[in-house]
């Protein structure tokens, strides 16, 4: 996948009479943890940053890379077991840096696999414990049951959140985080407590694919707003056209589980 090139990105910014500033989005481990449409989340951030009048800069961090400085938004995606094994050691070596960024209020979006690995641990079905980096007070247990299907979540902050889940790990929240919302359709974190995702500081963590951000622009704009306010002191939004997003939400909500 190639996003719009940096040239296109910066020229789009400078065509307007002066960009409101640059917002740097870091994609974590796109090589190993980026299936199930996670690119969609990055593309939506890139375009909406532009539509709000800022200049997006998309960075990547893969295993072994130097960790980029001055990052405004961090996005981490899903992955298969094999991808998780590849990144595990590298992620643990970045534990303190990522904790610092999180506690400092850096907005982050963590989906599925990296949601789990930002937690305290993942215990597999066979009892093996894969340590996480403990940024989020959550733990995940592998199960035989795969939770699959369309999901609608009611969130106090973002309204209805629409997406699609596909996971067999079941996550439980500790007291250090709050849920992203409660599931109106679908399962979410686990098959018992009706909660989905986790919120901590400016982190939004979720099992939802779909991709998440295209049909939930409120979450995308929360990440962008927070990044702009932290960096420039204030955020003046543009006026993205969310007509198709609205209709896509309405139709998605009516689809069966």
């Amino acid at each position: 996948m190639t996003p719009l090139s940096q040239d296109e990105a910066s020229s789009a910014g400078s065509q307007e009479t002066g960009s409101k500033g640059t917002i740097r989005v870091l994609q974590l481990y796109p090589r190993d943890m980026n299936i199930y449409g996670d690119w969609g989340n990055v593309l939506v951030l890139q375009q909406r940053i532009r539509w709000h009048g800022y200049t997006p800069e998309i960075l990547e961090y893969n295993v072994g890379d130097p960790f980029p400085e001055d990052v405004d938004i961090i996005v981490g995606g899903g992955g298969q077991d094999s991808g998780q094994l590849v990144i595990q050691d590298d992620l643990l070596s970045r534990e303190s840096a990522l904790k610092e960024l999180a506690d400092d209020g850096t907005p982050m979006l963590l989906i599925c696999g990296l949601y789990q690995l930002f937690g305290r641990f993942f215990k597999t079905r066979t009892g093996a414990v894969i340590p996480g980096i403990g940024v989020l007070d959550v733990e995940t247990h592998g199960t035989d049951e795969r939770l699959i299907g369309n999901v609608t979540v009611s969130s106090p902050e973002f309204g209805d959140i629409l997406g699609y889940e596909n996971h067999s790990g079941q996550t439980r929240l500790g007291p250090g985080v709050r849920p992203l919302g409660t599931t109106a359709k679908g399962t979410g974190n686990n098959s018992s407590d009706g909660q989905e995702g986790a919120r901590y500081r400016n982190i939004v963590a979720s099992y939802l694919h779909g991709s998440l951000l295209p049909k939930n622009p409120a979450i995308a704009d929360f990440l962008i707003r927070t990044a702009a306010e932290r960096k420039y002191g204030s955020f003046t939004p543009g006026a993205p056209d969310d007509g198709y997003a609205e209709l896509a939400r309405e139709h998605a909500a009516r689809r069966p589980r």
Binding site: T2, V42, I58, I148, H209, P214, A248, H251, A252
Partner: protein, 429 residues
């Protein structure tokens, strides 16, 4: 030896036919009263069983292998895919065996869905297997692509003769390391075509990611060298041959290289030797299997249907069928047979449609598709989730232009049904 099950099964088959019943029911009956029927019947074939599996292109590749082998004078038994694979094969066998249970064929060539692969090869170890690719598809059903790779690996491990692998798909090529029984052969791409076939690992890495150093590739028996508008070049036996192709789409033509490798293995093991001219002639005449991309005529202008069911298939479809001069429609459904999760649309780049835009977007997930196009800055003419009126508006709005419709499986069925009212469409069996 006489088996009572065969005449009984054939009788049930006849009765259900008369009543217009489903084709698999007789298979169910014979399976119940004689569970060894399929295995026993297939084991009598002099050249054994060849299976074709992988995520993309099984149906057309199976059809190619069958037609290539028939060009060598072989009698081939083959299956149409159905809801229950073993039952479907048993039912098809019942139709083809004589009353004493003998199958009049030299070889069986079977399309094997990943879901049924393990069960089948455990009962009937194939002599040949052809493994095409492991792509993101049907994640709803199988969870993860690594699992699909394991299923293909299991097919390969059960193969007694020759395994034919895609040299360019790392998950498939890697299977060779795990095998110690069967002979391994490869089909491959010339370097100049590699960028046309991004695999799912390439698609994950973003811009400017360094390409890891790859080990040298094994020799491929047949290499696809060039794809033209209606012909292609293949390299084998140290020479390059050019042949006309009725098949469209580079991925179909790559699978033709796969079919050639398998057909050459089988024919080479036969009694008469390989008729190379006959193979090429047969290859040039293979038409696409139903629903895998076909060209119809509407109002005197061509209308192409391109089936898209996963990101790599969609990307290859966009690349194989350039948009210039065409009116374009996209129809995305999210029924079970299409895949329920729309995430895959976000792994396809649509910038090749930016110049001409998309005239109509339809299907149950029409607005997901329109939203996807908006983020790639592709103009959308109109959006209507209802396929029938959207198709009518599409045809009316572009009478002077050739047309192309990218559609998911169930959307394609609906579009064909509708088109059959205004033009000749091959009957779906």
């Amino acid at each position: 030896m006489l088996y009572f099950s065969v005449p009984l099964g054939k009788l049930v088959r006849r009765v259900t036919r008369l009543r217009g019943g489903g084709s698999a029911f007789p298979g169910l009956v014979v399976e119940k009263i004689d569970p060894g029927f399929m295995q026993r019947t297939l084991s009598t074939l002099p050249l054994g069983v060849a299976v074709v599996s992988g995520t993309n292109g099984k149906t057309t590749t199976t059809k190619m292998v069958v037609e290539l082998l028939e060009s060598q004078g072989l009698k081939v038994f083959t299956n149409r895919t159905g809801s229950n694979f073993t039952r479907g094969v048993a039912a098809a066998l019942l139709g083809d065996v004589d009353w004493r249970g003998r199958l009049n064929a030299d070889i069986a060539v079977l399309e094997l869905d990943e879901a049924h692969a393990v069960h089948f090869v455990n009962r009937v170890p194939p002599r040949y297997s052809l493994l095409l690719n492991v792509l993101r598809d049907q994640l709803d059903r199988f969870g993860e692509i690594d699992k699909t790779a394991q299923l293909l690996q299991h097919i390969a491990a059960k193969t007694t003769g020759t395994v034919v692998l895609n040299r360019e798909d790392p998950r498939v090529a890697r299977i060779a390391e795990t095998l110690n029984g069967p002979e391994v052969r490869y089909f491959g791409l010339h370097d100049s075509l590699l960028t046309t076939f991004p695999n799912d690992d390439d698609l994950r890495a973003g811009p400017g990611s360094p390409v890891p150093d790859l080990p040298p590739k094994p020799h491929a028996d047949v290499v696809l060298r060039r794809v033209g508008a209606d012909d292609a070049d293949f390299e084998y036996d140290g020479a390059t041959v050019t042949t006309g192709m009725k098949l469209r789409g580079v991925y179909n033509i790559f699978n033709a290289a796969a079919a050639l490798v398998l057909a050459r293995c089988v024919a080479g093991n036969g009694t008469t030797g390989t008729d190379h001219g006959g193979l090429l002639k047969a290859l040039s005449e293979v038409a696409p299997a139903f629903g895998r991309g076909e060209s119809l005529v509407v109002d005197g202008k061509p209308l192409d249907l391109v089936l898209v069911k996963n990101p790599s298939g969609f990307r290859l479809g966009l690349k194989s069928f350039p948009a210039g001069g065409y009116a374009t429609m996209i129809a995305i459904n999210d029924n079970y047979a299409d895949g329920r999760d729309m995430s895959w649309l976000w792994d396809v780049e649509f910038d090749s449609l930016r110049d001409g835009g998309v005239d109509q977007v339809s299907g149950s997930r029409a607005y997901d598709m329109a939203l996807r196009l908006q983020y790639d800055e592709v103009a959308v003419g109109s959006v209507n989730p209802e396929i029938v009126p959207a198709l009518a508006a599409f045809i009316e709005g572009a009478t002077d232009k050739p047309k192309r419709i990218f559609c998911t499986y169930t959307a394609m069925l609906a579009i064909r049904r509708e088109l059959s009212k205004i033009t000749t469409v091959e009957v779906v069996s």
